[in-house]
């Protein structure tokens, strides 16, 4: 098939999908309408279980099983990336040379490193109260470490980033979620049920199992992002094929 024919086929297909989508959308409730039966019930359930951040309550309590699946996708994708990006036989590792860093960049990146780290951990710890949670806080925490790469060089990043530990952390976060779920079984309820005391509304200890599951996710996401970025950085900085130089 020539390129022109392919474009025509594509145009017909896209037009068909567009008609289907528009027909479906005109049947949806009006944008901004007041009726949200699932939302109202979710808010009610979240307040009944003393979790101020309804989204955390949905993710880690009301549909905790779904979040387990989501976490497993993350874990599987990181595992796949690690396998795909390993050093092959015809490649060699080269020592990356330190690059010149502007003093202003160095100063602000080093100032912001501890700030970003604390903000990330804060977002994870307050997932049941304020907007945020394990996924978002984990990514912020992982980014904090990489400020060192921007401020100093690759060696400095490697020194605070023992890969093995982060790989174990990734697996431990995934495992902790399962163990917390199974703890519900031992406590006499069902898998991933919220079996802990619910605490006082709008305090750090509220929400029963929500803050614990949140912390497990935060640990997994932070470690997974560090591992993921490390593999891509290795490809970019350290590993060279036969032909390159």
């Amino acid at each position: 098939m020539t390129r022109g024919q392919r474009l025509w086929l594509l145009a017909v297909g896209l037009a068909g999908v567009a008609v289907l989508l528009v027909t479906a959308y005109t049947g949806l409730p009006d944008f901004g309408a007041a009726s949200h039966p699932y939302g109202d019930r979710a808010v009610h359930a979240s307040l009944a279980r003393h979790t101020a951040n309804v989204i955390s309550s949905i993710n880690f309590d009301q549909r905790g099983y779904d979040t387990l699946g989501e976490e497993s996708i993350l874990f599987g994708a990181v595992l796949g990336t690690v396998v795909l990006l390993r050093q092959t036989r015809d490649e060699r590792q080269v020592e990356p040379a330190p690059a010149l860093v502007l003093p202003a960049v160095r100063r602000y990146a080093l100032y912001l490193l501890p700030v970003t780290l604390v903000v990330g951990l804060y977002v994870v710890a307050h997932g049941q109260l304020s907007p945020g949670g394990g996924f978002q806080g984990g990514v912020v925490t992982a980014t904090a470490l990489h400020l060192l790469y921007i401020a100093v060089d690759y060696h400095a990043l490697e020194r605070i980033r023992p890969m093995g530990l982060y790989e174990i952390g990734d697996a431990a976060g995934e495992g902790a979620y399962l163990v917390l779920g199974a703890a519900g079984l031992l406590g006499g309820t069902s898998f991933l049920a919220n079996f802990l005391p619910l605490g006082t509304f709008n305090t750090l200890s509220s929400g029963g199992t929500v803050p614990l599951l949140n912390a497990a996710i935060g640990m997994e996401v932070a470690c997974a992002v560090v591992v993921l970025l490390a593999r891509f950085l290795d490809q970019a900085v350290e590993i060279e094929g036969r032909g390159e130089k």
Binding site: L7, V22, Y25, F31, G32, A33, Y38, G39, L74, L84
Partner: protein, 116 residues
């Protein structure tokens, strides 16, 4: 008309992403187009969950029942969507790196031959 506009925006982003995906001459570009397709689902989910005058469904600084809140269920789904999208993008980019190493090209039209 105004009430379907956000949904139409989602459809438009999706179709633009599909067009880019189908006409792409570079696998990295194709992975980017897939991310565009996926971002249309964020717009759709947020549009479905919006409520006029609604605020974020977080009750740490507002009293429950004092203001309408937007639908938290679709927001949780969007969070799932973002996480899955980011990790799948990373996996696909890793695959592109391997394809480039094996075949020396990232043009999908030149990748027709089988190689062991």
């Amino acid at each position: 008309m105004m009430s379907v506009l956000p949904y139409l925006v989602a459809a438009w982003i999706f179709l633009v992403g599909c067009y880019g995906l189908a006409t792409s001459r570079n696998l990295i570009h194709a992975v980017g187009c897939l991310a565009v397709c996926q971002s249309s689902t964020y717009v759709l989910l947020m549009a479905v969950g919006y409520r006029n005058g609604g605020t974020a469904p977080v009750f740490s600084d507002i009293a429950p029942g004092s203001r309408p809140v937007v639908d938290p269920v679709v927001q949780a789904l969007t969070l799932t969507d973002v996480v899955v999208g980011a990790t799948v993008t990373a996996l696909l980019l890793a695959l592109v790196i391997q394809v480039n190493k094996r075949h020396g090209t990232v043009d999908p039209d030149e990748l027709s031959e089988l190689r062991g």
